[in-house]
């Protein structure tokens, strides 16, 4: 690399970083390209970690991502970024290396939200896991293979539910504790979440709704033996999975004068990072889980999606804008989509369901665990979810993108609208 040509640096070497770097090369960028990653591993795929890796069907290191373009890049793996000097255009790494850049693609992603340790509560017992990285999955796999007496999962989001499903596949006793009436309540509402409750009942997961875990107790060896609940009760457990979502990895940007916090790095619609005054910071773009961008389908609401498809699409979009002139910065228009597999069911969703005031099951039925449900807000379709009914989803995604009336498709063969009512979302979090 010529010292007078700093080139493009991509911070974050996971899915968004890799696909962003590829998009830069595919877009014709021929200058120096550096990828920085905090983990020592080459870019890997996360979705299998909470499924096949936990189940022992795939080794943790089997999830390396294919490279879809010739990168000709310099890799700096195992070196987290620790600081950014925007005026000098220098990125600082943990080992003291300073990388000059002309443009920077920020794709540092997110990390598992750890169990909150409060002053005076002492060190956390051993045997308490989170599940986000390849190393997390490897450690948890070893713990599950050792045959714990009861796994306690704290949090009934997608990761918690997938982990519960795996634990049952492994024949392990498992309790899932969640403050809401059903799992997936925040993303899908409890009307649809109740289907997961019935799956859990069939599979033998001990689901505890309305349950707040307050603290963990350790045995003499320092290993977790019990979770204490807010209502005074306790759950005996020797292996805990804390599945409380993720926080965005922006601590390295604390002094950079950007609008960044644990909820993400705020960007404009063109994926340009905004400074603390709300202006696009020259040469700075963001993509993937860390990027908090206005969503055109939800009234410009700022959202940082933690979705595989968003990481790919947004990284490609940011790369495109990085190579375009200032007067040709295009807005990112992406309808969020995700998938999950648990309890043998393929769950897929499009759009953001939270904020819906109505939901209707429009194909199949909840009782059969095979259905498509669509969500509406103020008379418009805003999201759809399928349980083993994926082929209907693209048609609904199109209608949602177009802002169609709710429900958007009527009179389809085999269609009988059921469960038309309130989606039953929990109150917003107070903390």
């Amino acid at each position: 690399m010529s010292p007078d040509e700093p080139g493009i640096v991509v911070v974050g070497a996971s899915l968004a970083g890799l696909r962003g770097a590829e998009a830069l090369r595919r877009g014709g960028y021929a200058g120096p390209l550096t990828l920085v990653g905090d983990e020592p591993h080459a870019p890997y795929d996360r979705p299998p970690l909470s499924k096949h890796v936990l189940a022992g069907e795939l080794r943790p290191d089997a999830t390396a991502l294919p490279h879809l373009a010739d990168l000709d890049a310099t890799w700096r793996l195992g070196q987290p970024a620790v600081g950014l000097d925007r005026s000098a255009r220098v990125l600082r790494l943990a080992d003291g290396v300073e990388l000059r850049y002309e443009k920077l693609l920020i794709a540092t992603g997110a990390q598992a939200r750890p169990w909150p340790v409060t002053d005076g509560s002492g060190p956390l017992p051993s045997g308490i896991h989170t599940l986000r990285s390849r190393d997390d999955a490897a450690a948890l796999r070893i713990a599950l293979a050792a045959g714990p007496k009861r796994v306690l999962i704290v949090g009934g989001g997608l990761i918690g539910c997938e982990a519960a499903s795996c634990c049952r596949d492994l024949g392990l006793a498992v309790t899932l504790a969640d403050p809401n009436p059903t799992p997936l309540a925040r993303i899908l509402g409890s009307l649809i979440g109740s289907v997961i409750v019935s799956c859990m009942n069939t599979a033998g997961v001990d689901f505890r709704p309305g349950t707040h875990v307050e603290a963990f107790e350790a045995d003499a060896s320092g290993r977790v033996c019990r979770a204490r609940l807010k209502d005074g009760a306790a759950i005996e457990t020797d292996c805990v999975i804390v599945a409380l979502g993720a926080t965005r990895d922006t601590s390295w940007l604390a002094e950079a004068g950007l609008n960044a916090d644990a909820g993400g790095l705020t960007c404009d619609s063109a994926c340009r990072a905004l400074d603390s005054e709300g202006r696009p910071a020259p040469g700075l773009y963001a993509a993937g889980d860390v990027a908090r961008c206005p969503s055109p389908f939800y009234g410009g609401r700022l959202v940082a999606f933690e979705h595989w498809g968003n990481a790919v699409a947004q990284a490609g979009h940011a790369a495109r804008n990085m190579l375009a002139n200032d007067d040709d910065q295009r807005a990112y228009r992406h309808l969020p989509s995700f998938w999950s597999s648990q309890f043998g069911i393929n769950i897929k969703g499009v759009g953001l369901a939270d904020g819906a005031d109505a939901v209707a099951v429009v194909q199949g039925s909840r009782a059969s665990r095979r259905f498509l449900a669509v969500y509406g807000r103020e008379g418009r379709a805003i999201a759809a979810i399928s349980f083993d009914q994926a082929r209907w989803l693209p048609a609904y995604a199109e209608r949602i993108e177009a802002g169609a009336a709710f429900p958007p498709i009527l009179g389809a063969t085999d269609q009988s609208i059921k469960d038309f009512g309130a989606p039953d979302f929990p109150e917003p979090r107070s903390r």
Binding site: T63, A64, P66, H67, L71, A73, W75, W308, N346
Partner: protein, 78 residues
């Protein structure tokens, strides 16, 4: 600093399926049955690291997918 593998074909292939795109048509399961498996109605399980010798089979699976959801490389890295 860690350099990923450089030599083409030195290790297994690397496969990823865009499971947002996947519609469970299961054509990959016919093209490369050892490496793609449909479970239940539409959960696709696939082998992300097939041996290098299976390249032709994986390429057939890629070509058979009606929604173009499968990508792979030769395990080489730039």
């Amino acid at each position: 600093m860690t350099e990923p593998r450089k030599e083409p074909g030195a290790g297994p292939l690397r496969v990823v399926v865009d499971l947002n795109r996947c519609q469970g048509y299961a054509q990959c399961c016919y093209a490369a049955p050892e490496h793609f498996e449909l479970r239940g109605h539409e959960v696709l399980f696939y082998d992300p690291t097939p041996p290098a010798g299976k390249q032709a089979e994986i390429a057939r699976a890629v070509q058979a997918c009606p929604v173009r959801a499968i990508s792979f490389d030769m395990g080489s890295v730039s």
